[in-house]
């Protein structure tokens, strides 16, 4: 940062250094840069600026092998989350539905919504299913291995999917809504009304 200044406008550097406030600025700059790097470039201000997700992949929205549209299934067709992600209430990890689950409907439904022309995306699914293959979805929400999150526990507490996953019903393409940083988890656990445990071993064991 400072190096940059030197190369760009060395004249100004002298001035900055001379004036006490300027010097202060430079100092603060360095401190901030240090903090920024140390904190994994995260701070509320960057959050506000929208640069908060460095190292946390907030907003990450990879292209999936099948352009599955949640806004269509959940938003328009009003399918419950748990219809497909059916193990989420009894398991720590929510499941991506087996192809057989998709085929419950798509045995019949083969066309693009509201048209008569067959959908190439559904075709992919049907082919994979009939060939006994599977679909390699790209993982969107990922926690480090040393953090153990339990879906069923949160659902049992009445947390709804959107709290963490955001307005999935509006997503044409799923993106990571929350930054999933530890601070983000803890802030929710801290709220007295949630009566959530704050022990380290709640997530780390």
């Amino acid at each position: 940062m400072q190096g940059k200044m030197q190369t760009e406008r060395p004249s100004k550097l002298g001035k900055i250094l001379s004036s006490s406030k300027g010097a202060g600025t430079v100092f603060v700059t360095l401190v901030c840069l240090a903090m920024v790097t140390l904190t994994g470039c995260r701070s509320e201000f960057m959050e506000k600026l929208g640069w908060g997700s460095f190292g946390y992949n907030q907003g990450y929205a990879p292209t999936q092998p099948i352009a599955f549209d949640h806004s269509l299934h959940v938003g328009q067709n009003q399918i419950q989350c748990q219809y497909c992600h059916n193990q989420v209430e009894r398991s720590k990890s929510s499941n991506i539905p087996a192809l057989s689950t998709c085929m419950n409907c798509h045995l019949v439904i083969r066309n693009k919504p509201g048209t008569n022309e067959p959908s190439p995306e559904i075709a992919k699914l049907v082919d994979a299913y009939t060939e006994g293959k599977s679909i390699e979805w790209v993982k969107v929400h990922m926690l480090p291995d040393h953090a153990h999150f339990n879906h069923s526990a949160h659902l049992a507490k009445g947390v709804n999917c959107q709290t963490c996953h955001g307005p999935v019903e509006t997503m044409k393409k799923v993106y990571q809504y929350s930054n999933l940083s530890m601070g983000w988890c803890v802030n929710c656990h801290r709220q007295p009304e949630n009566k959530a445990p704050l022990n380290c071993s709640t997530c780390h064991h």
Binding site: T29, K48, Q87, K92, A147, K173, S201
Partner: protein
């Protein structure tokens, strides 16, 4: 800087829909979102920079400056966001309904170790077994598992397992020249062609599976084959003794729980003899309540685990075994004229030579007299056992006779000894092996099929290896080309027991079902199916052998025809089968049936003559980790310390302190032990409580082709076994011991053996306890200026009963398996870097010559005033609201200050990157619930916090309260004696709370130090008739 600003503005101008896919949400977009505002605020309040927010009005500078500067780092930020490991999620094609991703299933199954059978619950995650636990429904093991049973899961994932059938191309000397892969068809063709020539022998170890026994007998019937059963830990001496004494050729069932006085002459029933875990459970039953606890007197020639748990332990040499038994018999039947054989003259004559042997033994006259009286007093409720390799001497037969006579004379036969429940699987016999060797040498045998036994290693001295070369073709079913495999023409690897169907019966009518918990990992085939296939192709043998297509069908048919009628209780077969699968075991009733007393053939006694012996005597004994040497490639067992000596990764020659002094032997000096023609070099271990004329060596070590882990560990003591027409002599042979110039280091997990007069293991005699329940457990007056933590929800605690803990070490392996604990190897154990989270401390008490032993399992004590918590600079170990001492691996930087400050030294440090060393497919055995620790991180017992969490979440999902017993931690679950209790101390009715608050024996380790641990130990009570002189304080050998 400039470019970053453009970025920002552009972000502002683009329509939201486009921006959806951007890696960050820009401020403008967030603006409208109320949820975010809340998030931001709350986040803000907890922020270290909130000062900036509070006095924003007065001094905007700091904040605005800040924003500007933060902007500067955007360049960096954007650069960073693209980097991300892309992971794929591949769902099932069709959802298998019993699999819930992330939830483990438990399948009942069974596993047998030699002749002992365990009921298992196999924990399986997404179709891979990760841990085995005990099945409470099994009538004998009752949920207990031995260390070996726990560890055998690793043998499934052993990277060195054969991945398919192999053919050994052999040269003229019938030694392996080259190994090529073979096809099952070719092998079958060759086999059938060969088998048709006749002269077939099926050589197996003890077969616990009734169905397999049936298959083999059908096969033998079909091919006119001979079935020879042999394995080193055979119990033929017991069978012969029973035959001679009562006329039935059985290994009877013993009831240690019924016995009030137990006399064991070298029968290590808590460690290695017949069914140790079953017996341990029974033994513990008889001692749970100290007031009515049984008394165990052990005459021990090696320092066995049973000896270590004895109330009175007397060191003997093998040649004294007979003196002990006959001496007791004499004093009971002749001197005290007790029992129905009292008057009998031939008995009197036979016992006369043993009139006053007590004087020759290392036991006081009074103790001996007391023992005699106790035995008489508890007639019918006492038990005398003798057996094991230590008694496989030239006089083994007499020893058995004497033991049987005692039981008969005391009226124990039919009560604590029950011949109506024989050990059906114990068929192994050294005589048969010698017969087979003869036949082989005579060229009578053309084909040998070897299954579940490895004679070339474990009968090294019998000449089997050379004899086997005379056979035309040899089939071997082992899972690797081991010592015997090297001489086989065809390797036809059997499935691992976790991959195959089967059943198991150790004692009569206690049958459990073995169901596969994983699809065969490699191109292996169950041995039963091999035999069935060959019979089918050769069109010979009974229908039931040739008709079924798989062994599963055979098994079901067998159960339908043989077991269902007997145990079906009128249920349809399908229900019967389902129930059996569900509960895992059938047939428990017979165990409690009262049996009838048998009459002892007194004339047999006349054969018993005193033994003349002088000089050093050899004692061979198995260890509870290695037993006969199978499973020795399992690293967990190699690093599991021998319960008494605490030595790992080695076997050794134990000699007494006096002998060591007289021979100038130091620990680790290599000795040369010569017995008859055979010699063995083995390092010396100076062992307190040994007889001076005994050199004791463990068998099961010194594999040469057992696998990467075990090859070269220790030396093969089977080489010292003397085989003869009569069978095999393991112990009692005259041994000449010479000290060589060589030296090695023995790695032990404990280097200091006394308590230095500190109250670590509290111990009291029964007399003391009866007088005062808090004997030797004086509480300290502790005064603290701090009120301590408040625990509003649960408060976890553990209680360990030192009186029932036998030190069997099953918990150590359970913990290792549950918590992904690594094995470090001999070199690093020597440097003090073993990783066990729970260790079993062993201290010697009393004089070095006659050292007694106490055991104490020690794991993290989860102190309320934990010294480790205050010193960690980064808060990597902190106190939880439930009294747990949380260890956060991912926060730990590894200063090791916590370990220094821990008075119990229970913390373990990852000195190297052990996780990297886990070889595929071993990683499949890892428990996904527990983080695999990286290098440079401290770790320790967590009280299985993941199990606590699992149970709580379960209770919450089922929305009910947690109840006592919902949570079973790994060590508690595996403990065969139930010495470990875990639970909630805030629940006054929980088992732990009761012990903490009411039990007078309960005490906290290093109580005066006032770390306020959440673990309580309960005084060990020794039932040795002494008044007050035994104290909890150590002294003795160091």
């Amino acid at each position: 800087m400039s470019e970053t600003h453009n970025e920002n503005t552009s972000a502002a101008n683009t329509p939201a829909s486009v921006r959806d896919t951007k890696y960050w949400m820009s401020l403008e977009q967030w603006g409208g979102d109320p949820e975010f505002q809340k998030l931001a605020e709350t986040e803000f309040m907890s922020s270290p920079l909130r000062e900036g927010a509070e006095n924003e009005g007065q001094d905007g500078w700091a904040r605005r400056e800040f924003l500007k500067l933060m902007g500067a780092s955007l360049a960096m930020a954007t650069a960073g966001c693209i980097r991300r490991p892309v992971q794929k999620i591949v769902p099932y094609n069709k959802q298998p309904e019993e699999v819930t991703h992330g939830v483990s299933n438990f399948y009942t199954s069974t596993w047998s170790d030699g002749v002992e059978t365990f009921g298992l619950l196999v924990k399986s995650r997404e179709g891979r077994p990760t841990k085995v636990e005990g099945n409470p429904n099994h009538a004998l093991s009752k949920g207990g598992l031995s260390a070996r049973a726990q560890a055998h899961i690793l043998s499934l994932y052993d990277p060195e397992r054969l991945q398919g059938p192999k053919r050994n191309l052999q040269n003229k000397e019938r030694t392996n020249r080259d190994t090529i892969s073979a096809k099952w068809e070719d092998i079958d063709a060759a086999a059938v062609k060969q088998l048709k020539k006749g002269g077939v022998v099926v050589l197996t170890g003890n077969l616990t599976s009734p169905a397999t026994r049936a298959v083999v007998s059908d096969f033998c019937q079909g091919f006119k084959a001979q079935h020879v059963v042999w394995e080193p830990l055979a119990h033929d001496e017991i069978r012969e003794g029973q035959k001679a004494a009562f006329g039935d050729d059985v290994v009877p069932y013993y009831r240690f729980d019924e016995a009030k006085v137990i006399v064991s002459v070298d029968a290590d029933f808590l460690g290695t003899w017949i069914a140790p875990t079953t017996f341990t459970k029974q033994f513990a039953e008889g001692r749970k309540n100290p007031k009515t606890m049984s008394k165990l007197v052990v005459f021990d020639s090696a320092y066995s685990l049973t000896g270590a748990n004895a109330d009175i332990r007397v060191r003997i040499k093998p040649s004294q075994q007979l003196d002990v038994l006959m001496g007791l018999a004499h004093d009971i039947v002749v001197t005290k004229a007790f029992g129905k054989y009292a008057g009998n003259s031939s008995v009197k004559a036979a016992l006369e030579p043993f009139a006053n042997v007590a004087g020759k033994l290392a036991i006081s006259k009074e103790a001996w007299q007391k023992l005699v009286e106790d035995l008489i007093h508890h007639k019918g409720k006492s038990l005398v056992v003798a057996g094991g390799l230590q008694t496989k001497t030239e006089w083994a037969h007499e020893v058995q006779l004497a033991a049987n006579f005692l039981n008969a004379a005391l009226g124990n036969d039919g009560n604590t000894v029950d011949a109506k429940i024989p050990l059906t699987s114990a068929k192994a016999s050294n005589k048969e092996l010698m017969g087979l060797i003869e036949d082989l040498n005579a060229g009578k045998v053309k084909t040998v099929i070897i299954h579940k036994t490895n004679p070339i290693y474990s009968a090294a001295n019998s000449g089997f290896a050379s004899a086997l070369k005379k056979a035309e073709m040899v089939f071997y079913t082992g899972d690797r080309i081991d010592e015997t495999g090297k001489q086989a023409d065809y390797m036809i690897p059997d499935n691992h027991s976790m991959e195959a169907w089967g059943d198991s019966e150790s004692y009569k009518d206690v049958i459990s079902l073995q169901q596969p918990t994983i699809r065969p990992m490699y191109d292996t085939r169950s041995v039963q199916l091999s035999l069935m296939t060959w019979a089918f192709m050769a069109e010979t043998g009974p229908k039931r052998l040739t008709t079924p297509e798989t062994f599963y069908d055979y098994l079901r048919n067998f159960w339908r025809d043989e077991l269902h009628p007997k145990f079906g209780k009128g249920k349809s077969f399908e229900d019967f089968w389902e129930d059996a699968l569900q509960s895992g075991a059938i047939g428990v009733a017979s165990l409690d049936k009262p049996s009838s007393e048998r009459t002892f053939k007194v004339e047999a006694l006349s054969a018993v003559k005193p033994v003349k012996a002088s000089g050093m005597e050899l004692v061979l004994h198995p260890t509870s980790m290695f037993m006969d040497g199978t499973l020795s490639n399992v690293s967990w067992l190699n690093e599991l310390p021998e319960p008494v000596t605490k030595v790992v990764w080695d076997n050794y020659a134990s000699v007494s302190i006096k002998t060591a002094e007289s021979m100038k032997i130091a620990q680790g000096d290599v000795l040369e032990v010569k017995v008859g023609e055979s010699t063995l070099q083995v390092p010396a271990l100076i062992q307190p409580g040994m007889h001076d004329d005994v050199v004791a060596i463990a068998v099961g070590y010194g594999r040469t082709a057992g696998g990467k882990v075990t090859n070269g560990v220790g030396s093969n003591a089977y080489q010292l076994v003397q085989f003869g027409k009569a069978g095999a002599v393991y112990s009692g042979a005259k041994a000449s011991v010479t000290k060589t110039s060589l030296k090695t280091k023995l790695a032990t997990t404990q280097t200091h053996h006394t308590m230095e007069g500190r109250k670590i293991v509290a111990e009291a005699t029964l007399n003391e306890y009866v007088k005062d329940e808090a004997a030797n457990n004086h509480k300290h007056k502790i005064w603290s200026i701090w009120s301590g933590h408040q625990y509003n929800g649960n408060k976890w605690g553990m209680a360990i009963d030192l009186n029932t803990c036998t030190g069997c070490s099953a918990c150590m392996v359970a913990c290792q398996s549950e918590n992904n604990i690594t094995v470090v190897g001999k070199k690093y154990v020597l440097e003090g870097r073993e990783m066990h989270w729970i260790r079993i401390d062993r201290y010697y008490v009393g004089t070095p010559e006659d050292a007694h032993t106490v055991f104490q399992p020690v794991m993290c004590q989860h102190c309320d005033n934990a010294p480790c918590e205050t010193v960690c600079p980064v808060l990597a170990t902190v106190h939880s609201s439930e009294g747990l001492n949380d260890m956060v691996y991912n926060r730990c930087v590894g200063t090791r200050y916590c370990s220094n400050n821990c008075p119990y030294k229970v913390r373990r440090f990852n000195w190297f990157n052990y996780a990297k060393l886990i070889e595929k497919p071993m990683h499949l055995a890892l428990n996904p619930e527990v983080t695999v620790r990286p290098r440079g991180v401290m770790e320790k017992c967590t009280f299985c916090t993941h199990r606590i969490k699992e149970a709580r979440v379960k209770s919450r999902v089922e929305n009910r309260e947690l109840k006592d017993g919902d949570i079973k931690v790994a060590c508690e679950q595996s403990c065969p004696t139930g010495a470990i209790t875990f639970g909630d101390m805030n629940d006054p009715n929980s088992r732990v709370a009761k012990i903490f608050n009411e039990d007078k024996r309960a005490y906290a380790l290093l109580e005066e130090f006032h770390a306020a641990p959440s673990v309580r130990y309960m005084t060990k009570i020794r039932n040795n008739d002494k008044g007050g002189e035994t104290s909890s304080h150590g002294g003795g050998h160091s």
